[in-house]
């Protein structure tokens, strides 16, 4: 039960801090769930994040799996695991949704306010910095993991750079590229 409350606290706060989208809270989410509460290992976090990129719908729905694993980690049954998953999904989506719902009522009154533009332009670089920190948070396990051999890390970094390069060069469904990454991993990373 205490775990569920901790999950609620952490993900409600993350919901309200997700300025500029879900990716902005990735570094904080990684820190809270891996280092502070140890609900998931760094490996699990990177894998769960990448599974979220393969499923349809909003890519941050993967937070539910963190809840599931956290319950698992605390020795709860699978039923409690699903309860924890729902708690996390509600905690992560409800607060920001309430805020949006409320503000969309009164939006017109400050749509023309010049400070709105200042807030958006001021927050934009912070969001990008947070997303870069998110790349680092996931990448330090998935791309340049000191626990793996140099050979392994060379391949994972190459896969990541290849995906980024291909996406810059042409419009292609990223889910397909992620599946292709899985195929490359299965082929090249199995023995090492």
């Amino acid at each position: 039960m205490r775990e569920l409350v901790s999950l609620l606290n952490v993900f409600c706060l993350l919901s309200l801090l997700a300025v500029g989208g879900g990716s902005a809270v990735l570094p904080q989410m990684e820190h809270e769930t891996v280092t502070v509460h140890q609900w998931v290992s760094a490996d699990d976090f990177a894998t769960i994040y990448s599974l979220g990129q393969m499923a349809p719908g909003p890519n941050m729905t993967m937070v539910g799996l963190i809840g599931f694993k956290a319950a698992n980690h605390a020795g709860m049954s699978t039923g409690w695991g699903f309860a924890a998953m729902l708690v996390v999904l509600f905690a992560f989506y409800l607060p920001s949704s309430f805020l949006t719902y409320a503000v969309s009522h009164i939006w017109d009154s400050f749509k023309e306010n010049p400070w709105r533009d200042a807030v958006q332009r001021g927050m934009a670089p912070i969001t990008i910095g947070l997303m870069l920190a998110g790349v680092h948070a996931v990448g330090k396990t998935a791309s340049y993991n000191p626990a793996h051999s140099l050979h392994f890390n060379t391949i994972t970094i190459a896969v990541g750079l290849a995906v980024a390069g291909i996406l810059f060069a042409r419009r292609i469904n990223p889910a397909l590229l992620i599946l292709a990454g899985g195929a490359v991993g299965w082929f090249a990373l199995r023995g090492i």
Partner: protein, 185 residues
């Protein structure tokens, strides 16, 4: 102009967003939403959609979920907002449960572990590309780049807590972009 505004029922709203929730593999949900709400269903005008997106991007939370909340509210009030957000999120959540259970079951299998390592490596590339693409303007502007790097170092490397970092950095970043001249009143 739309003279008789559409009044879809909550099940219709749920169904429309559910369809997006099932088919939107690979992200880019805003494009799916625009296609469905503006082009296919004619539930919103392009301008209304743009306004909803502006709110969704300014406020915290996922842009796609925020747009769903606003669109659902416009169409059928609070129940419409719930129907829209639920339709968008539920299919992915169900699929993730299945993926998650498979992961727990097979994570120690050598083949699965290797494939997952490749998938995670590719996902980092995707996040990097999205970051560079939407951040191109900020990364090329010296003042913005300073705030990008400051945020990255504080939160990413020094693990300063996100609310603390926001309260420390955001006021300066916003004040430097404050409205000037005529507009500032």
């Amino acid at each position: 102009m739309n003279n008789n505004p559409p009044t879809p029922t909550c099940p219709e709203i749920f169904a429309a967003f559910f369809r997006i929730g099932v088919t939107s593999f690979g992200g880019g949900l805003v494009a799916y939403l625009r296609d469905e709400l503006v082009a296919k269903k004619n539930w919103m005008s392009p301008d209304e959609f743009l306004a909803a997106l502006e709110i969704g991007q300014t406020l915290p939370g996922l842009n796609s979920v925020n747009v769903a909340i606003i669109a659902g509210r416009r169409l059928a009030g609070a129940r419409g907002a719930i129907a829209a957000a639920a339709g968008l999120v539920v299919p992915g959540a169900v699929i993730l449960v299945i993926l998650g259970l498979l992961y727990v079951r097979f994570r120690n299998n050598r083949d699965v572990a290797a494939a997952l390592a490749g998938i995670a490596a590719a996902a980092v590339g995707l996040l990097l590309q999205v970051t560079l693409k939407i951040g191109a303007k900020q990364l090329l502007n010296p003042l913005d780049l300073f705030f990008v790097l400051l945020t990255f170092v504080l939160v990413g490397l020094c693990h300063v807590s996100l609310p603390v970092a926001l309260f420390l950095i955001a006021p300066f970043a916003i004040i430097l972009r404050r409205p000037r001249g005529e507009a500032a009143k």
